[in-house]
């Protein structure tokens, strides 16, 4: 029951971008340096986040990444599901798969409870809440 490094670094990458939104875009090497992660690994995570539409990349010597959505609208649960596949504690039963009453009882009593609790945490935390509160007046603009 662990969140992978991909999930953890992905969230940190987004937080870093949100905290440096005053720059039009941030080179990945800077983020890697601040977050003490290899730039090569972070690049792999960035590719997934870009494909999912959380960030956009600017090519070139002064290139880098920037958020493509407002941090208020980015929920950590969605980010984690993008990076981890899903956040369920067990697989859903495959179609046609026979489940014993024993298994069904544990699923409804234990696994469903855990899945709901996990979702209730990660689906109520936005990226902006992790960055820290900011006044609307000085919050930067985000372009899609």
């Amino acid at each position: 029951m662990k969140i992978s490094t991909r999930g953890r670094y992905g969230v940190r990458l987004l937080i870093d971008l949100a905290e440096h939104a005053d720059q039009s875009h941030v080179p990945l090497a800077q983020i890697a340096d601040r977050q003490k992660v290899s730039a090569r690994y972070l690049e792999q995570v960035a590719v997934i986040l870009k494909r999912a539409g959380y960030i956009r990349s600017i090519k070139g010597a002064s290139g880098g990444y920037a958020l493509s959505r407002n941090p208020v609208d980015i929920m950590i649960g969605d980010v984690l599901r993008t990076l981890e596949g899903d956040m369920l504690v067990v697989d859903n039963p495959r179609p046609g798969e026979e489940e014993s009453l024993l298994q069904r009882c544990i699923r409804t009593s234990v696994y469903s409870c855990l899945n709901e609790r996990i979702a209730s945490v990660i689906d109520t935390i936005s990226l902006s809440s992790l960055v820290g509160t900011r006044d609307d007046a000085d919050s930067p603009m985000y372009y899609i």
Partner: protein, 167 residues
């Protein structure tokens, strides 16, 4: 992801090491099979003893795997074993005194969603923006599994049985 397991290698050999996307928050077969086997034991008449072979026949979990799990589950007294021809396993304490959390922690190791939460302190704790989220997640997970007793599962089982019998 490094598995923080305090379990002997013999159990480890049963564990799949495939790391596809989305496997990480999964409870392993160790946890799932243990819950199944313990609920099975809890549903038996008090003091009935069953062999792992019988449990295996009823649940489809391999006999050998059950033996490995039961070694772990005996240590904290969740189950107890009686040797001999008439021997077998039964719950080591009343079903109301065993929580799902007891079982999962025994066979899965620490359940923190990120391993840094298991450590006493973290050098970057002060500037870490995500620790709060992971801690909250961990707290919710623990609340859920520590509030669920095996006796609750027995009750849920019987009410499901009744409902389905009525259909």
């Amino acid at each position: 992801m490094k598995k923080t397991l305090t379990v002997s290698g013999s159990v480890g050999m049963f564990i799949k090491t495939t790391k596809k996307l989305g496997d990480n928050m999964r409870i392993s077969t160790r946890g799932r099979y243990s819950l199944e086997a313990i609920l099975f034991l809890a549903l038996l008449p008090a003091d009935a003893l069953v062999s792992t072979r019988e449990i295996s026949e009823k649940t489809g979990i391999s006999d050998g795997y059950l033996e490995q799990l039961f070694i772990l589950l005996r240590k904290p007294g969740i189950i107890s074993g009686v040797r001999g021809a008439q021997g077998g396993y039964r719950l080591g304490k009343p079903a109301g005194d065993i929580t799902v959390g007891d079982i999962l922690r025994t066979v899965e190791g620490p359940l923190a969603p990120v391993s840094c939460l298991d450590k006493e302190s973290c050098p970057s704790e002060a500037e870490c923006r995500t620790r709060f989220t992971w801690q909250k997640l961990y707290t919710e997970i623990q609340h859920c599994i520590d509030a669920l007793r095996i006796s609750d599962l027995v009750r849920a089982y019987h009410s499901m049985e009744e409902t389905e019998g009525a259909l």
